[in-house]
Symmetry: C2
Subunit: 375 residues, 2 copies
């Protein structure tokens, strides 16, 4: 078997999301956008695909992949990883993730098995939490504690038994008092049987984070996520020792499983975290999950990515939840699916099923892609 | 897919190995012995096999395996692991290893791929080191420093570029001075281009271990293995800080990847260690390799087991060597192969190839097994 080409497929689509000045996502008017797929072409097939793509990263990566056996995923992932050092701006972890996932797609198709069974399966569905967008000032959005409470109630009525609140972050007012009040109102609204988590402004100072964390402990929140810059491991070590609510992380801290090993070693967080896009693919995400398991730590996953679903369905040690969203009162998440992907997984009754087809299990609308292709 | 039965196949064979009073292996007169295979029977196939077996362990394990999907390796391994707690004397890690390896054999056969490619391959052959039996007092054996030196020279002439010396251990004289003299003679004999390692008496006191370790550093040994009881992590932490030769471990310490996480966390050894039989299979051995990789630590493998070969061939971060042996001047290791296994891997020019057939890649002589079956 030999990889003969790697390419980024680009196609036009519409989107109904906009980013604020800090980069956080909110609903927006429909606009033209670009969809992408990463395609690993294998002589004689099967080819591998992954949603998302980056042409500049692929140009660098293909030098290391073309001519190689796609089943040597570990070797190829390590080549890409070691190539990143001199290509920090282009061959980023998200790009490596898509290439790695496309290689897992090949392997699963060769084996005739879904990726989670290649990894060693534990289950074929996982509970999800509804993950909200960050707060805003939209009249029909998440502009007040009451608006969050009302949306949380709506999510529970739609079958979600767990909700993660992304609170206000700049440019909106992110004062600890306001965030705590919002968490209090949501807990009052949904009662004690719903799991609640808070993901908050990444740049609080330690005492601000402690003030929020103490409130979350009183409100019986399941975890407290990213209140401070994750590059300051000492701040998280301090916070973890100061508050009773479990502190979770890291998400954005670079350094893949190595950084997560240091967090585990020092007890920087109570609960570990991994997302395939954050660490560069299923290959390092599996290593990270193994690392946390070896330390007896839970490992929760970050992001609504089918790679995380496959990983979660191969873990016997929690990871409990798949993150579903980002959701918003005036945004139909399901209706805004990528039109190139036929079977984007969505939850039912609080659970989401991992696609059971070979490889990643995603099916593509090639007619749509060809009709709207732009490269 | 469903597991319908698990059994231990027993057959008669001959052996030419005996154990001394401490349990170490030496050449012996040919004797009748029992060979075993662990067999996981799957409805409609393919069945999984692994050399070795333990009827008492299998009786406990099969309650947790029969009726289950064999592709759920991670789930099934965790069930066995959690069952061990109340069955410490019977459902030991070696037994769980064989069951786990038989499940990987099934998965590979379903996928039509060798296990190392399921794991994500990096290479199809690895360098080996020749691992000697422990010293003895046989006139044609390993009774003097000169005898070790002569055997080391013989091993080099047979293509081995690395040798691990199991020095004298009780009931033979294991004094540090004698062991150091043996190491010195071997280094003189083979020169500086051959990698030498020492695996020594497990019950030295700290200062004895330091004395040997200092000598090994001067003699440019690659590593120093198990001079003390591995349950004393503090002793290894002390030794690692005291000597310049890299200290390796743990091998026999129970506790799978969790114990190895604690060694990595505390810097108890310079180089990590895993063997599939020590930690309960390929599933936890892969976790352990990931753990060490996350800490930037080398992870060397223990034992001449085909499961270790598959693991090594899926690792991009060293693990450099497969352990081959135990070898002895008057014992033909290859001629004493298990007659049930047709294609036991043996090295050539210092390298050993991983079997490339589906699953573990081992082929069995079913005619021999049936003709000699005893259960």
């Amino acid at each position: 078997m030999e990889i003969v080409d790697v390419e980024t497929i680009r196609y036009s689509r519409t989107k109904r999301r906009r980013s604020d000045e800090k980069g956080h996502t909110h609903p927006g008017p429909e606009r033209e956008a670009t969809g992408t797929l990463t395609h690993v072409a294998v002589e004689g097939g099967p080819d591998g695909y992954c949603p998302g793509g980056d042409e500049r990263a692929v140009e660098i990566a293909k030098r290391h992949l073309v001519g190689e056996d796609p089943l040597y995923r570990e070797e190829l992932w390590n080549r890409l990883y070691r190539t990143q050092r001199l290509h920090g701006g282009t061959l980023h972890d998200k790009a490596v993730c898509r290439l790695d996932m496309a290689l897992w797609d090949v392997a699963g198709k060769v084996a005739g098995l879904p990726v989670y069974k290649l990894l060693g399966a534990t289950r074929d569905r996982v509970p999800v939490y509804a993950s909200t967008m960050v707060g805003d000032d939209d009249p029909d959005g998440l502009g007040t504690p009451e608006a969050y409470a009302s949306f949380a109630s709506d999510l529970v009525s739609r079958g979600f038994e767990a909700i993660k609140l992304h609170s206000w972050m700049p440019p909106y007012d992110a004062s600890p008092a306001r965030v705590i009040e919002m968490c209090r109102r949501v807990r009052e609204e949904v009662g004690r049987d719903v799991d609640l988590m808070l993901d908050s402004h990444h740049y609080y100072a330690r005492t601000e984070a402690k003030r929020i964390g103490d409130a979350l402990a009183d409100l019986d929140f399941r975890w407290f996520e990213e209140p401070m810059d994750e590059h300051s491991m000492s701040s998280y070590e301090w916070l973890t020792s100061e508050v009773d609510v479990p502190v979770i992380g890291p998400e954005t801290a670079e350094g893949k499983m190595q950084t997560r090993a240091e967090w585990a070693k020092r007890g920087v967080a109570d609960v570990g975290r991994v997302g395939v896009t954050d660490v560069g693919g299923i290959t390092p995400a599996k290593k990270t999950a193994s690392l946390y398991e070896s330390f007896g730590m839970e490992c929760e996953s970050h992001g609504d990515n089918v790679g995380n679903l496959h990983l979660l369905c191969s873990m016997a040690f929690p990871g409990r939840y798949h993150e579903y969203g980002l959701l918003h009162p005036s945004y139909d998440y399901e209706a805004n699916d990528d039109p190139a992907v036929v079977n984007t997984p969505h939850p039912e009754d609080g659970y989401i099923e991992v696609p059971d087809g070979p490889g990643l299990g995603l099916e593509y609308d090639w007619d749509y892609v060809e009709a709207n292709r732009t490269n």
